[in-house]
Every structure is written in structure tokens, then in C-alpha cells.
Subunit: 412 residues, 2 copies
């Protein structure tokens, strides 16, 4: 096992892994009402136009526009009130010249009508007759058939994450079920002689397992189904047997090794043996997270994350989440939540390496933010718990000066 012979920058390391993935997401039909956050497995086409009938956008009177031409407050037009369009019913009674019909917002335009006069621009003349005080143009205050969406048009592309707005659009088209991609099962495997699960009493020299739970939460947040395996045993044969079982059961594996040399070595060897092509990247030019392993084993992505909790969570965010999104079939990611802020202090960095720094965002009186780096050794999990986001110092820079404008990626 050749360690750290070539340190790839994170974007290149990620591309290398993604280029080796061959599996395509599979689809399932689910109720649209339960589809929040899921990814479309196919484009959605409008089965009919929206609106499906010409609708009034105001409360008023449906008219023939030419019957109102020249009408004004001083010289109103007089139209006979020929009934009312009831909401939720087809307007079937045709409107003839010289007539108007009472209509409500969202009501269907009757045959023969081509505009609506707002009720405020009319007044009663005598029983059964309305004074029209304004001229309206053809189409005024009317939503035409297909003005929102034409029949047959693609309304939601494939690979889009569904938000409340898309769910509303699907429902408007009567699509009570939607084809979404299946959520991949992500196996999470932690090891380390010093690591025990919370709930057990802590002995001197031991630490509680953090990575299993931060990764479980991150995977769930990103749309995967996390599955925690028991802490891996120290014994090589049992370690490999559990890893192979997890590989067979899951769509992707995330390993985190504790700090012990044996756990780190076992993890690297085990990943290398899970299947071809195997380890693609061993070492990434990023801080924290240099000793990251990226592999594809028999078509499934396998990532060896650093053991230290801060590095593991940051690397999972920048490298494992994009891989999970690929498995999910996310093709059109929306812009990430970012805050532009001014850096509070100088931040040194080593050129040629991507540096990720946890920052707190402090609101200023003028509505802008200051980004305060949270310094601390990278083993400190509360560095991240106190952070609002992460900022990236690109490999081309050897640091950022105080006052620099920086884009902070929010930690959700």
C-alpha cells in the first residue's frame, strides 16, 4: 500500500471517483405528498394545460371587451346582467353582445366573453343592469388557457430535488404520485481500539464514537438511508468479514478508522480488497482530511474518512455528499446556501492545498456579517458545533487577509 504518493486536489479526487461509477439510480413511484426532498427519476410533463380554462383574475363582470370601448366614468356603457358564473362549475351560458355576467376571482370565463371589468369599475344602474366605468382590452383580467403551463410541456426535469413549490406544481396537475429515485443505503463502519458507543461507561483512555452519528445525520440530511454497523472488531478476519457483508448489503460505504495504527491499516487494506478497481485516491491535498481514501469496489463507492471527528465531517461534506448525490441521481443541484462576509482576522494557509476553516458569522449593524475563524486543533468537535459555516482557502492562495470578502458555505 503506497501512502500519499500523489496528493490530488479535492475536485480532481472527486472527479476520479465519479468517473468510475457506472450504476444508475433506480426509480420508484411514491405519493407526491410524501416526496419532499426526493429526486425526480424522470422528467414530468403536464398532462393538461394550466389553467385548464380561461379564468378571471379579479372579482367583477365578464364582458365582451368591445362592448366597453369608449366607456368612462362620465360616459359609462350599460350592460345587462345575465346571471353569475358559480365557482367550481363550467360556465356554459354564452354571453351575447350587450350582456355581462357576475364572475369571481378564479371563475371560468363564459363562452363569448373575452375580458373582465373589476367590480370597483362598475356600479349598479338599475336592477339587472350594470354601469361599466372603464374600457377594458381583450384579455384584460383574464388568465388564458395554458398561460402557466402548456399541455405536454416538461414542467420538472429529471434529477431535481422536490421542494414545496414543485410539490404544489405536481398537485396542480393532479399528479398525486411521482417517480423518484430510490434512496441509496449507505453503510457506516467505524473502528478503533479506543472507540466505544455512547451509553456505555467510559474508561480512562477511551473515547465515545462520534463519527458514526455525525455521518448518520449527514447522510440522512443529504437524502440517503444511513445504516450503522456495529463497531468493527480489531481482529483482521472478523473486520474484513463485516466489511464484506456491509459492501454486499449497501450501495456505498463510509469507513472511519479510530486513531490506532492497527485500525487505520486494517481499514486501508480492507478497502483495497473489496473489489476492482479498488483504491483510486489515497491522500487528498486538503486540510483537514489529508489521509482520505477514495475507492470504487465492484461499482460501489467506498470512502475511508479520517478518524478525527472534525476531519471526518468536513471531508464527508465535501467529498461523500457529492458521491451520494450522484447515486441519488441529482442532476440539477440548486445553489448552496452561502453568506458573503468579511474576514475578522488574517488566516494563514499553505499554497497548493485547499484549507477548510470553521467560522462563526457575526451579524453587523448594517446587515452584513463578519466571519470569525474558530481556531483550535482539528480534533475538537465543539469547534464545529460552534461554527455557522466553513470557508475554503483555495490552493492558489497562501492565506487570506483580515477584511477580505469571503463566501461562507453554511453548515445545515
Amino acid at each position: 500500500m503506497s501512502e500519499f504518493l500523489t496528493l490530488l486536489p479535492p475536485p480532481e479526487a472527486l472527479s476520479l471517483l465519479l468517473n468510475h461509477l457506472t450504476t444508475k439510480p433506480t426509480a420508484e413511484w411514491i405519493p407526491t405528498a410524501d416526496s419532499l426532498g426526493r429526486i425526480t427519476a424522470a422528467p414530468v410533463y403536464a398532462p393538461f394545460p394550466l389553467p385548464t380554462f380561461a379564468r378571471s383574475t379579479v372579482d367583477g363582470y365578464a364582458v365582451r371587451a368591445r362592448d366597453t370601448f369608449g366607456a368612462s366614468e362620465s360616459l359609462p356603457a350599460y350592460l345587462t346582467v345575465a346571471g353569475e358564473v358559480a365557482m367550481g362549475t363550467a360556465a356554459t351560458q354564452p354571453l351575447t353582445s350587450g350582456q355581462c355576467q357576475l364572475i369571481h376571482t378564479g371563475g371560468m370565463l363564459p363562452p363569448g366573453a373575452d375580458a373582465v371589468v373589476m367590480v370597483e369599475h362598475t356600479q349598479e344602474a338599475r336592477a339587472g343592469e350594470r354601469e361599466i366605468l372603464r374600457t377594458v382590452a381583450v384579455g384584460e383580467n383574464v388568465l388564458q388557457v395554458g398561460e402557466d403551463v402548456h399541455a405536454g410541456r416538461e414542467v420538472i426535469p429529471v434529477g431535481v430535488r422536490l421542494r414545496p413549490a414543485e410539490i404544489g406544481g405536481l398537485m396542480a396537475l393532479g399528479l398525486a404520485e411521482v417517480a423518484v429515485t430510490r434512496q441509496p443505503l449507505i453503510g457506516i463502519l467505524s473502528s478503533g481500539d479506543e472507540v466505544i458507543r455512547p451509553g456505555q461507561p467510559l474508561q480512562m483512555g477511551q473515547v465515545y464514537d462520534v463519527n458514526s452519528y455525525t455521518l448518520q445525520a449527514l447522510v440522512a440530511q443529504a437524502g440517503g438511508r444511513p445504516h450503522l454497523y456495529p463497531l468493527l472488531p480489531d481482529e483482521p478476519a472478523a473486520f474484513k468479514a463485516t466489511a464484506e457483508q456491509a459492501w454486499a448489503e449497501c450501495d456505498m460505504l463510509l469507513f472511519t478508522a479510530g486513531s490506532s495504527v492497527s485500525a487505520r491499516d486494517l481499514t486501508a487494506q480492507t478497502i483495497a480488497g473489496l473489489g476492482a478497481p479498488g483504491v483510486l485516491v489515497h491522500g487528498v491535498s486538503v486540510r483537514p482530511g489529508k489521509p482520505t481514501i477514495l475507492a470504487v469496489c465492484g461499482g460501489k463507492p467506498v470512502i475511508g474518512l479520517p478518524g478525527n471527528p472534525v476531519s471526518a465531517l468536513i471531508i464527508a461534506q465535501i467529498l461523500a455528499v457529492p458521491v451520494l448525490e450522484r447515486l441519488l441521481g441529482l442532476k440539477q443541484p440548486r445553489p448552496h446556501g452561502r453568506i458573503t462576509a468579511r474576514l475578522a482576522t488574517n488566516l494563514p494557509s499553505q499554497a497548493g492545498r485547499e484549507d477548510w476553516v470553521a467560522v462563526r458569522l457575526v451579524p453587523q449593524a448594517d446587515g452584513t456579517y463578519t466571519a470569525e475563524p474558530i481556531f483550535g486543533k482539528s480534533n475538537l468537535i465543539f469547534t464545529l458545533a460552534r461554527a455557522d459555516g466553513l470557508l475554503c482557502i483555495p490552493p492558489s492562495a497562501n492565506g487570506l487577509p483580515a477584511g477580505a470578502e469571503v463566501a461562507v458555505e453554511l453548515m445545515q
Copy 2:
């Protein structure tokens, strides 16, 4: 019922409602592993320090720093190797002067040691002896007890939404359960003679219910438990009976009335009758969403949203979500996801009114974004489905020029 006598700006309307809320969130204990997105019901204090024992941050040799003073490549110090600190066990064998012990990253410092020399800065002298090639200072390569968190310190304040990082922090402290606020039950009630539920065949003049589902998704996303009631009947007594039952069962109600006059009137009258103090705001100086009703009835917030789907979703986002967050006990909201972009076109607006405009964010070659307003009548749900976010034109402006720098609130 006096409509639109006073149009309050959205922030003042919201404050008025929040000031009438008296209920406090209640707490429940849940497994920390299931707490993603939940809100802390009490501050969390560290039951013990982190780390709980002095730990090495590198692979190397635990030493007494003064035994290395003056050591260099040309003049190494020679130390006897007195064993190895095994991972996950208490280091009990004291280190005496002239000795070193092999130690791994995360290993416990033995009694008597006060620094660690990296393995790269040592070499084997003869069996049982190590050459030390560098001087280390007291504390070098050591994480001290409490360096991450001191015992008794508040590590997570009350009212914080739990992210993967906080879950990791709780687990590091062995806190496998956490006190979070109960998720309020939010009743969603829609009405309108023209509105039917998706799944039924659409008759001419009818439209599918959109608002129930966009609101259901938005409430779930914000951390509430949505409950959809059947579409409200047109008959006043039955309408009120259903509304009163929902009010008794839920912690907050969201009404959306269809476009029919009867549905709108029934909604306004019903909200007014649900309890004291009743309607606080009827009409907000915002577009879309002017005919919004804000009420507190017997201590519970009740919001009457506009019937049109775009207005309903935008108003729910800017007015209902903050109320829900109050019920959830969210005290320390993190900065929202925002993207600073350049406006692609002129945007007219009416001074004295807050305008919310749906925009698409178009990435530019230099990594910045252009914000393209999605024009369309406000009834068009696919206006929102095509949008990446919303931008707010404040009441003080009468529009924004093309090229202006704008902050776009992302629609999640």
C-alpha cells in the same frame, strides 16, 4: 369585519402576532441519534471535560520535554524505550527521566510525560533506545484535558436547531439522549367551491388543491407536524364546526380559502370567532399576499393565507414559518441561505410595500450569479417551481435597477 383599514408592513404584523403568544414549548427526551433538526429544550452542559485525559495528537514518543532540550539531528538525545501506550487503555506506567514510550495519535499520555516527539523526528539507536532529533516544548503535540470543553461548561444553548456537528458533540460527551422541544401540530384547512383534491377527475371550472400540499411540505421542513383536514364544506355551520375541532386539536392553524367570495368570507368570520383576542392584522402591505389575516385565538396562532398558491406559499414562508419557529422554541436561528447576485433586469415596485419576486439564479463564468426575475401573474404555481429563490424589494424602494446587487433568499 373591517377589511384593509390598516395595512401593516410584514415585520410589524409578525411582531404583533408574536407578542400575543403566551404558550411555551414543552420538552421531551429523545435519542440523540434521532435528533437531527430538532430544537434543544434546555442548555446542554458538559458532564466531564473533553478530552477526558491528555492525548497525543501525533504518532510518536511520549517524553519529558526537558529530556529533549538541545536535541538536534547533529546532537540527538538518547532515550530508553520503556514500553508502548496501548490505544483505549489507561496509561498507568509512569515515565521517568531518560525514558520515552511509544504512543499513537489519540493515545493517553503516561504519568510523568509532558510532550510527544513525532515519530519522523526520531530514529532507532539500538534495540530499546531511541534517538530524539528535535527539541520539543512542554505540551507540544498534546491535547490537554478540557482543551475542547471544560467540565460543567454550556456546550449547546437552549433553542438551537441540532445539526450533525451538535449531534457529534453530544455523543462525544456520552449524551445518548437529549431534551428537545415537542413538535407543534399544525392544522391545515383549505376551502373553496372550485377546489378538489388530486386523485379525483377534474371537471371544467374546478382546480386541484395545491395549498394543502405546499403548506404540508413547508411545515414539515420547518420542523412542525402538519395535519391536513378534509376540504372545508361550503355550509357555514359545518365549516365552523370543523375549524373549531381543528383549533382544539392543534397548536396552530393555517387556513387557505379558495377564490370564491363565500369561502373567503367564511374563513375570515370563522377565524374571528375562534377565541380572544382574535384577528390582529387583516391586510399586510406586501405583494403578493395583501389579504393575509393574522390572529391569536385563545393563545394559539391562526393565519389566514391568500387562496392563490404562489401568495400562500410566499406568505407562509415569511410569516407562518417564523411563528412556527417561535412555537418550536427556536431562539438562535442560524443565518439563512442567501446568494448575492446581480439583478438581470429592472424591477419596478410600489414604494411603501414590501415586494417579493421569484428569481432564477444563473451562474456566471466568474462564479457569481445573475438573478433573473420570473415574471408572470401571481397565480402561476410554476413561477415558483422554476425559481431558485425570492428577493425582497423593501418598502423604502420604488424598484431596483438592472445590475443592482441583491441578496436572494434561497427556496429550499
